[in-house]
Amino acid sequence: VFGGVARKERRAGERHTCREANPPWEPERGGMSTSGDGQTRLKWTRQLLTRTPSIRNACDLDLMIFLHRHPRTLLTTEQLAGFVGYNLKEIARSLDSFIEAGLLERTAQQSLHAARLFVLLLEQPQAGGMLTLLEQASTREGRKTILEALKTRDSPRPELRVIESIPRATG
């Protein structure tokens, strides 16, 4: 529910102002289309990924997409992992990487409750090409290209869990 279907409904350029230039084959709007040369797209995406070093694998990408759609989230890390569809270890690694890059803030762990508030900080200058990347990931084709670019960038690919049912928001 919170994956691909909803991603398509996100509107272009609505949220932040520091988005980078559109891909060369789509000067009018951001995002990827089926038109354009596949190799050009892949090359351009690789270049874009060099400016978004915190996106290293599919888990990073999908977690970032989730956080972009839910920029202020109060959940336990387990619940977050359930929503995004990766295992806890991968999610924790991605979260740490975003926090380190200054893209995410997380409240300190309280003793009595495990939920933490995650706040996405994409308006910061360090957000770099992240918004352009998210724009590209808003279509199926664009996401596929990003994943392909990640695969050929020699990043270790995280183990994708087979999710039969995503836990509901009731926690």
Binding site: H70, P71, T73, L74, L75, R116, T170
Partner: protein, 519 residues
């Protein structure tokens, strides 16, 4: 005694039916089936609080993602993203389990977030099952604990709860209702094949409010608008504020008619002109408006039957240039299609027109179309007409209501089903009379409150390019007045003169002889 602190919702029309707002700190339950508008109401409650009353707010979501809420709000013209940027709004996505725990923690992250922006309002979407779902006493106490957390923070909270049982006509109760201070129920009302939205204040602690189901709409670019139930009694203050003038009259605009009405209609009076189609009711209405223009008085015609261009054309055919009056801002013509009129919305529209344009003369064309749209059975039509009459009287408007009488030559159904004659000050009947091989038009003033009325039928003519006038009653010799006993068929309204050639004594003998049993 300290003044009570009321919170205005800022939602168009809602504060009016809440008699000014909701006591601050109340827990507000927004309940209704899917698609009733609970989320929109809740988001607008927060948006208006920030934009109109400088009260920052918090939106808590469980199922809908924040970017969808932001996108949908933009359709109503509410830029939530901008409010977030300026630290006046926080939209937090969480789970029910986390929220339940949060509101019981002294060091709640959520409430700390609310405090950071100085939040005064909170909206929690999908609050059902926050406190289990069995409808048991356990539910009640869990919900109570939950609301206590909100009270502690002095937040005025709106909680949206999906309740599928609240479809049209259904009633029921949920444990949350007894704990909440204010319960607002939203419904989708089915009528024939149409659907309309309604809102009802089921309860609201600490103040008065207008009961019953009021209509509401969601308007693109604006948000919610609640239309007060037309049947709801008007505040007494409005009636008291109206300055009644019992003596001033205004001209009818029809040559000869002022003489019959002793100088015209009283201001604030209600006149029904009844007659079959084509008898000249609309012409009379146009002349009434044209007379207003001549005197520099604002006039308005509201038609359910003809569009503005048609009215202008018809008026021009009898020599009346209403367009010139419109250009001088003395005339306003309004057309509303009669299909599926929502009576609360329609009345609100008329009320706003009257308050903005401030006419002295109004023509409504026609009551029969209202009758066929709203139905003459039941109270809707009568209550609507009552509200209309009260509105016109409050603004001291002389109003004419055209009413198409389906009977060609009779008057039995003149008021018939409408049951409104007690509200009407004046009744003018327009009727055809068949004389020789021609129909000629007659006008009778059947009722005129506070005036002597002779109830004589006068001939009227409508001339192309000139309009309507009442012809003088050119009788050279006085007409003999005969007693009722000279006529038969009075009750049947078709009296005929008896040819009386016998004395009363002869007549009674004739009757006795007729009744005598035969041998």
């Amino acid at each position: 005694m300290p003044a009570r602190d009321f919170l205005k919702t800022g939602i168009s029309g809602l504060d009016e039916i809440l008699a000014g707002g909701i006591p601050r700190g109340n827990i507000i339950l927004l309940e209704g089936a899917i698609g009733c508008g609970k989320t929109t109401l809740g988001v607008e409650f927060i948006y208006r609080g920030i934009s109109q009353f400088n009260e920052p707010g918090l939106i808590v979501l469980f199922e809908v993602s924040p970017d969808k809420i932001v996108r949908d709000a933009l359709g109503f013209g509410w830029d939530l993203r901008e409010l977030e940027r300026t630290n006046r709004l926080r939209i937090v996505f969480t789970s029910r389990e986390v929220l339940r725990q949060e509101l019981q923690q002294a060091d709640s992250v959520l409430l700390e977030e609310a405090a950071r922006i100085g939040a005064r309002r909170i909206f929690i979407d999908g609050a059902a099952q926050l406190a289990t779902s069995n409808g048991t006493s356990e539910t009640r106490s869990a919900f109570h604990v939950f609301t206590e957390g909100l009270h502690r923070e002095n937040l005025t909270a709106a909680l949206a709860i999906e309740a599928s049982l609240y479809r049209s006509g259904d009633n029921g109760s949920m444990p949350e209702e007894s704990i909440a201070d204010t319960v607002i129920r939203l419904r989708m009302e089915e009528s024939q094949r149409a659907i309309s939205r309604s809102i009802e204040i089921v309860k609201s602690r600490g103040h008065d409010y207008q009961m019953g189901r009021h209509t509401f709409r969601m308007i693109d670019g604006r948000g919610l608008h609640i239309y007060r139930r037309v049947q709801a009694p008007r505040p007494a203050s409005r009636d008291r504020a109206a300055a009644y003038d019992p003596a001033t009259r205004i001209s009818t605009g029809v040559p000869g008619l002022d003489d019959l009405t002793n100088g015209g209609y009283f201001v604030g009076s209600t006149t029904v002109v009844a007659g079959i189609s084509g008898v000249g009711k609309s012409v009379m209405g146009c002349q009434f408006i044209a007379e207003g223009v001549r005197r520099g008085e604002r006039s308005m015609m509201l038609s359910l039957d003809e569009q503005v261009e048609q009215i202008l054309r018809n008026a021009a055919s009898v020599g009346i240039d209403l367009r010139a009056g419109m250009e001088r801002d003395l005339v306003r013509l309004e057309y509303e299609p009669p299909q599926e009129i929502e009576v609360d919305v329609h009345f609100d529209h008329i009320e706003r027109l009257v308050e903005e344009f401030r006419p002295k003369r109004v023509v409504i064309d026609s009551l029969s179309t209202y009758g066929s749209t709203l139905g003459t059975h039941g109270r809707v039509f009568r209550d609507f007409f009552h509200a209309l009459v009260a509105l016109m009287k409050e603004h001291q408007i002389a109003a004419i209501y055209n009413h198409e009488n389906p009977e060609m030559l009779g008057m039995a159904s003149m008021m018939g089903d409408f049951q409104m004659s007690s509200l009407v000050d004046n009744i003018i009947l327009m009727n055809w009379s068949e004389l020789g091989d021609a129909f000629r038009l007659g006008l009778t003033i059947a009722k005129m409150r506070a005036n002597p009325v002779d109830r004589i039928t006068h001939e009227v003519e409508v001339i192309n390019g000139e309009g309507m006038r009442v012809l003088p009653r050119a009788l050279r010799v006085p007409v003999d007045q005969h007693p009722f006993s000279s006529y038969a068929g009075l009750v049947a309204r078709s009296p005929e003169r008896r040819m009386l050639t016998e004395s009363p004594a002869q007549r009674s003998r004739a009757v006795r002889s007729r009744d005598k049993p035969r041998q």
